[in-house]
């Protein structure tokens, strides 16, 4: 069996793992669950040798195991099927099964020997594809199975499945059952990392819950747990406190009067199914769900980045959203992404150039010439207002910390004076102090009448900053939580089950139709 004892890991002062003990036995499937940032991924990385712990030891069958890289782990029979699919799409199925360990004779790869070993494994998994089929022709689900097959063909003793269900859809749970049965029969020790608590309880033998870099529930029989209990353990005592000190305005969410962002019967095939939602100005509305539930598609649709198959989106000024992403931006929609390095900042450019990027450069609102001096002084105002810690506005953004980079992203969007502010995981990977400052900023903007939609994988964050949280399940809105129902626990549970706990009927759905249609010419809404 594989054991981890007293594993500690810190990243520049941030404790990712604070002395974790963990063990998996052959022939059992052990679930590893916890919130984002609880330390699951770091623990997995330690187990496969991708991260060297600061303290603690790994043991394989009692003998100490020192891993310096992932290749070492593979050699010891520890395999991982990761969240990000890591197949080579241009190569065929067979070539993907043996990366770096093709059976060879001299310089030649023995395709026949490979096929003899690969076929039974794929059959066992129920993956019915030709071995010479290019991987790019496979469905996401088939690829996921292929990844598992690739791991199995090396005859691993320990197999870590990191979020396998993010690609395997709910209907495939039965298939996954079969896969796990196969693994148990082969006496493989399986670690199953997932956010889908329902799946976890249905599929796994034991559950380990992590919170804040520690194991709070060590390997407990899945039969003795419920989604409710697991969520409770994931959030811990401080969950309640967090919510109480949250920044709720307390204002009732009233709809039908005043400016609002309205989504009317919005459908995006395979992702959103006839969703109608109204987000009034002056309140912060959160959207939540598990991966693939559609909550992020909603954000993308409102930002003009996703084409609608049906329905329409109406902005606070009454105009319909048109013209794709650029059209949305010219109409006053801002999308602040937590993936700032990719979608947010220009790392090699000065703060002031980043701040002016939307208003003066993309939208050309300051006329035919960009005046650096004016951009600098406006950037200075933002630096002061948002508390961006930088020696000057001439500093390259790449030299700033993550939290300050994120504030630069906010500054550049605020420059454009948006009426709709969409936030996609806006505090990803930034420290707690900067988070708090951003929460305060969001509240202030909301009070100034900005429409705000926040998506976050962190239920606690949503509970703390939102006035209402709309939960998605299978492409539809399954609950709109507010008031007393609005806490991290309920959000997580509804995300996973699709129903509001306690059997209580969801709060009466606000009647969009009547209020909305009075503003519209007849037939305009449908």
């Amino acid at each position: 069996m594989l054991e981890a004892q007293g594993i500690r890991k810190t990243y520049g002062g941030v404790v990712a793992l604070a002395g974790v003990d963990f063990a998996v036995r052959p022939g059992t499937v052990q679930a590893l669950v916890g919130e984002n940032g609880a330390g699951k991924s770091t623990l997995v990385k330690v187990l496969v040798g991708a991260v060297t712990p600061d303290a603690g030891a790994l043991r394989l069958d009692g003998a100490e195991l020192r891993l310096t890289n992932t290749l070492g782990a593979i050699g010891k029979g520890i395999a991982v099927v990761s969240q990000e699919l890591s197949l080579f799409p241009d190569l065929d199925v067979l070539s993907n099964m043996f990366p770096m360990r093709e059976p060879r004779r001299g310089p030649w790869v023995l395709r026949r020997a490979m096929a003899e070993r690969a076929r039974p494994v794929l059959d066992e998994l129920g993956l019915d594809v030709a071995l010479d089929e290019p991987v790019e022709g496979l469905s996401l689900e088939q690829r996921q199975l292929l990844e598992i097959g690739r791991a199995l063909v090396a005859d691993p003793r320990v197999l870590i499945l990191d979020e396998p269900t993010s690609a395997l859809h709910a209907s495939e749970t039965e298939r996954l059952h079969g896969v796990l049965r196969t693994l148990r029969q082969r006496d493989v020790a399986v670690v199953y990392v997932s956010h889908h608590l329902e799946d976890v309880l249905a599929l796994c033998d034991e559950v380990t819950v992590m919170r804040d870099g520690r194991v709070v529930v060590p390997a407990t029989a899945a039969g003795s747990l419920s989604v409710d209990r697991v969520v409770h353990h994931m959030l811990g005592e401080k969950a309640a406190a967090m919510v109480e000190e949250g920044a709720h305005s307390g204002a009732p969410v009233t709809r039908g009067s005043g400016p609002s962002l309205r989504l009317e019967n919005v459908t995006v095939h395979g992702e959103l199914d006839d969703v109608t939602l109204e987000v009034p100005a002056g309140v912060i509305v959160g959207v939540a769900g598990v991966a693939g539930s559609g909550y992020r598609t909603l954000l993308a649709a409102a930002a003009g980045a996703t084409r609608l198959d049906a329905g329409r989106i109406v902005l606070p000024d009454g105009a319909e959203l048109t013209g794709g992403q650029r059209g949305a931006i010219t109409q006053g929609v801002a999308l602040v992404s937590g993936d700032r390095r990719r979608f947010g900042v220009m790392l090699d450019k000065a703060v002031w150039e980043n701040v002016g990027q939307v208003r003066s450069v993309a939208l050309r609102r300051d006329g035919a010439l960009v005046r650096a001096g004016r951009l600098r002084s406006r950037a200075e105002e933002h630096v002061g207002r948002l508390g961006i810690r930088t020696p000057s506005v001439d500093q390259e953004v790449g030299m700033l910390s993550g939290g300050n980079q994120q504030k630069v992203v906010f500054a550049k969007w605020l420059e454009a004076e948006p009426t709709v502010l969409l936030l996609d995981d806006p505090t990803r990977g930034i420290d707690i102090g900067a988070k708090a400052e951003i929460y305060t900023l969001l509240r202030a903007l909301s009070e100034q009448g900005t429409v705000q939609v926040v998506a976050s994988p962190d239920a606690r964050e949503l509970a703390a900053i939102c006035d209402e949280v709309v939960v998605f399940y299978g492409g539809r809105i399954c609950a709109q939580l507010r008031g007393e129902q609005l806490d991290a626990h309920t959000i997580l549970e509804v995300m996973n089950t699709g129903v509001v706990p306690g059997g209580a009927a969801p709060p009466p759905r606000p009647v969009h139709g009547g209020a909305v249609r009075t503003h519209e010419p007849p037939g305009g809404a449908q």
Binding site: T330, K349, Q357, S360, V370, N404, K412
Partner: protein, 356 residues
């Protein structure tokens, strides 16, 4: 040029003049100018060019003759103009390999039209327009067939060259007569400065303003910095790319027209290999192949540096067959020097800057 030379001269003065001997602000202003200069991306190429001119001149003072230097400027102008357009494309991580062929094809267009009896000036304007259209065609290929610019323009590099050969039957075509104002003005000079050189300077000045102070210039550099973030910020990436490709084509046309004015005829093999020299000039001038950064002045200076090397070799009695090798060596030296300077500067900045 007028932009760069005064600060270059005043920088050392600023240090050598003892404090108090000059009127208030004198050395201060010089020092400010020096600081501004040191921050420019084209510092490396400027130093390299000046040093090279001084070295060659030290061996043979005839090299310092005004006429000789102006001759180099004139010869460098064509690649210089192409390099200015290339700097825009490189800054947004694109490339135009067809500029040499556009240059030949537009020169031919200008000559043919004038040969048909059209007013030479009108022919010239039309040829520049044709250059823009050729650039637009490149952009359309990139946009609608989803080709990378290097592939699309590799194809048009051959196509445009082929057109020039086909339309001219592979022979030279004479332009407007030598005594036509078109030829005397474009082939002439003002106070000893060749018109082609003046055009290069004007192009440089205009494009520097475009790059540094217009939304278009900022968009170009934004896209090169982080294409996805640019798209997310509402920058119309495809449109900006199209504009930059058209600019590059039109500049090719301008260079072609100047050639007709100066040499009086077009040759279908004109400008073969200029696309790579234009890229080299832009890179020597501090434009980054990684995108996000460009210097129009640097690109022009880069082409002048290449011109200095080409004519300097004659003074060293380098056998003609070694010319290419020497040009390559100089490109390598200039880029390495620039890279070293940049790294030192960056190191200094990292040392001063507080990482927050």
């Amino acid at each position: 040029m007028h932009e760069t030379i005064p600060p270059q001269e005043s920088a050392p003065e600023g240090r050598s003049v003892p404090a108090g001997t000059s009127p208030r602000g004198g050395p201060g202003r010089a020092r400010t100018a020096g600081r501004v200069l040191v921050r420019q991306d084209y510092l490396g190429v400027l130093v390299a060019t000046v040093v090279l001119v001084l070295v060659i001149g030290a061996f043979d003072t005839r090299f310092f003759q005004f006429g000789q230097l102006m001759n180099i400027l004139s010869q460098s102008s064509y690649i210089g103009i192409l390099a200015c357009g290339m700097a825009f494309l490189l800054a947004m991580r694109e490339l135009d390999l067809s500029v040499g062929s556009v240059y030949a094809l537009t020169a031919l267009t200008c000559a043919l039209l004038a040969d048909q009896g059209l007013n030479p000036w009108v022919s010239g304007l039309l040829a520049i327009g044709v250059g823009g259209l050729l650039g637009l065609f490149n952009a359309v290929l990139i946009q609608f067939f989803g080709l990378p610019s290097i592939v699309a323009t590799l194809a048009t590099l051959a196509m445009y060259r082929g057109l020039a050969l086909a339309l001219s039957n592979g022979t030279q075509v004479l332009g407007p007569p030598i005594d036509d104002p078109f030829s005397t003005i474009l082939g002439g000079s003002v106070w000893g400065v060749p018109t082609t050189g003046i055009v290069l300077i004007v192009v440089c000045a205009v494009l520097t303003v475009v790059l540094r102070s217009t939304p278009f210039g900022y968009r170009v550099r934004s896209i090169g910095s982080n294409p996805e973030a640019a798209q997310f910020s509402g920058i119309p990436v495809a449109r900006v790319r199209m504009q930059a490709m058209v600019l590059s084509g039109a500049l090719g046309g301008l260079a072609g027209v100047l050639t007709i004015g100066y040499f009086g005829s077009s040759d279908p093999n004109l400008g073969t290999g200029y696309e790579l020299l234009a890229i080299a000039a832009a890179v020597i001038g501090g434009t980054s192949l990684r995108g996000g950064k460009a210097s129009v002045v640097g690109a022009a200076l880069g082409s002048i540096l290449l011109g200095v090397v080409a004519s300097g070799l004659a003074y060293f009695n380098v056998p003609i067959n070694w010319n290419q090798f020497a040009t390559g060596a100089v490109i390598l030296a200039a880029v390495s020097l620039d890279s070293a300077v940049r790294r030192r500067r960056q190191g200094a900045r990292a040392g001063n800057g507080v990482r927050l």
